[in-house]
Symmetry: C2
Amino acid sequence: MPLMRHNPIFFLYCPVYFDQKKVQGFLWIIDKKLLPYFDRNLKTDFMREISKFALKLSEGAGISELMKDLGIGLASAREKGLDLSLMGGGNPAHIPSVEAIFQEIWKDLGSDSNSINQILGDYSNPQGDDSIREQLASYLSVQLKSDISSENIAFTLGSQSAFFLLFNSFAGEFPHGRFKKVLLPITPEYIGYADQGIREDMFTSLPPIVETVSDHRFFYLPDMNRVEDRLKQGDIGAICLSRPTNPSGNVIPWNYIIKMKELASRHSIPFILDNAYGYPFPNILFREPKIQWDPEMIHVLSLSKLGLPGLRTGIIVAKKEIASRISEMTAVMNLAPGNIGPKFLSKLLENDLMNKISRNMIQPYYQEKSIQVQSIIDSLFQKAGIDYTMHESHGALFLWVRFPYHKKNSQDIYKEAKNQGLFLIPGDWFFPGLEETFSHRNECIRLTYSRNLEEVSKGIEILTKILS
Amino acid sequence: MPLMRHNPIFFLYCPVYFDQKKVQGFLWIIDKKLLPYFDRNLKTDFMREISKFALKLSEGAGISELMKDLGIGLASAREKGLDLSLMGGGNPAHIPSVEAIFQEIWKDLGSDSNSINQILGDYSNPQGDDSIREQLASYLSVQLKSDISSENIAFTLGSQSAFFLLFNSFAGEFPHGRFKKVLLPITPEYIGYADQGIREDMFTSLPPIVETVSDHRFFYLPDMNRVEDRLKQGDIGAICLSRPTNPSGNVIPWNYIIKMKELASRHSIPFILDNAYGYPFPNILFREPKIQWDPEMIHVLSLSKLGLPGLRTGIIVAKKEIASRISEMTAVMNLAPGNIGPKFLSKLLENDLMNKISRNMIQPYYQEKSIQVQSIIDSLFQKAGIDYTMHESHGALFLWVRFPYHKKNSQDIYKEAKNQGLFLIPGDWFFPGLEETFSHRNECIRLTYSRNLEEVSKGIEILTKILS
């Protein structure tokens, strides 16, 4: 806009009276034609004041800052024409054999005009279609060795949205002025939880016990004594754990889960198990998948890591009272979950297709990838004499690599890698609510191993150079 | 569970000591085999304590209560074998010519395997796909006579979810202890807003001016002096209006909208226009569709009333800062919007298909239906000598009928109708935040006219009997 060329603007410094008080100010003398422009821009400053809710959810210290930084880095790397290794994201892999099945289901749904008209054109029941919930309940009753009915199930618009509802239902402000927190019994833990509280300080967490397996492998275990102690403070409203754990690829042994559930139950709070990568689907698990549901637990499942993140479909398996409350919140906030995700699920449950793809396609695909990428890391890092160790890969899409005595910390590594076209997530982000020091926090990075092997190899080469 | 037959239970009334205090209690003596059952049920009472957030969103006085009552009524009507007239819901009509186009798009999307793999298998950008937002921005720039860029657009998981984010961003608790409300400048207004505040008392509203057109027709207008006065109290964070208005079918004249927008702007607050039934799509408008966007307004659009509620796709058109903040909240709460809705939208925008279906199929379909149903009402009610009047039908799916001097109020009518298989919504629900008496509140009902003509006729016959 050629403001200065044709439309002179002057301003004078002068006293101005406002509410009978003298204030210093500028008097602007502008071309009348410009008034609408100024007027509009001066008046529509209504973003200057937003609620605590919006401030909390849109200015989180966590994800959004990182995402912006990644976005800028990506744009700049593309500008420089760098070969990119995108090992930071959480998108599931594109597995051709699985995609072929999804394409068939899509075609199948489209070929029955009554069914497709209903899928597109009718609002779902807020809890999700009754018959699909019944079908899922029968399937889960077998898989999770428990008596699950359709009333224990609620569909949500993705599991992220399920966690938003669960966390803010069991933590935050309670009647009579009480404030409760979600306890993450072991960190590192999923970055996406961190910003979900509508109030500050809704998460508290504990560092893990580190078990060394060999020179270059370790795994984490929850420190059960500390979990028990922390619960005694009486301010915990729920315990939540992802299994497999994002970012470490940990699968916490079932006896620990049982113990945690019992502790939760003793304090009359729910134990939430984030099953987004877990059993029975997508089954990105390379260890004993033992798992069971009972009414003292809330399981959260998702269709995303199966390869269907575009359908935004999450599933809560919980006591009836919780499932129905979650649905009431879904009704108020979203009217209803979508129809396509549940319909895909229903088709996948027919003829045992769900177990077939989870066990025979998805699980082997990721396991093979994980082994290959670990061996690339071992070979390149050891050749270069890098001091490293990594978490055993029990499941999920990530490798969690630690550089214990390196002079570069995880932020340094992140920045240098970004400048060379390798995108990864520095470990610092995965300790929501941890109030004490824990060395791994600044010594680890999360690498997504599920991209194609060429891209991953190139990324690990860059990493080797940075750390040598 | 045959509890009593094989497993004797006794209980004794006795004193029990708890924390060194004596409390009266029952001592239970039960069969050991029953312990797990009791144990489980006694311990998992963690729903007894839920947060203020959950209490507010799952125990709203509004929708969920009504929905439950409707659900029970429906089950009972079905049990009695009654012919049902479902004139309570907000589901869009199934219009075969439109559905045929949707089926084609579905097939089309499924036939390109690269495209379908991306739609199903990749997370969307939290604000929505860039190229689709650009395409939509070009379309809306023409339709809304304004300069709209992709940065002004954010996709959400349905417009209900957009309103949840907007209301709780511009009203509720603010920094420094301030509390703001959403002003609904005219009631009756959409029932779905009422429960969306995460805090109590987040809405305040005003009664309308009633303009009589003829013996049996009237329409509402906003009382602009009162709107202006109400804003002066300084506690309003946003103004929101649906156009066409659900439930009345009102289309507020554009000069009123301009005036309200100017008032909002003078108070540095946004003016939110709920366009879910409006222009340019789905265009369920039987009056001058004049509309324009500018940065002082937030327009909310939806694909639902076009006939795609199963896709959960809402659209916000707002200043860049607002669109980006909404997306950040979407990222935290939902990770991303879905892919299928935006992709359908994109296909509909190609070859001007969107305007073709909105103007040549959807608009005429509803207008014809509205005229037919009005004429059935006029004919049956007048024949029976019922004292009634109704809001002029300017758009949306509903007729708003008033029985000014009838001894039965809207709740009486609702209950009697329900018992005879006719489902409608009593008018009381459509006055969220109205703190004063307004006679229409208990004298009106909302009838969905978009069901098939036979069903609607049967419903109006029942209504005629109830009111005669």
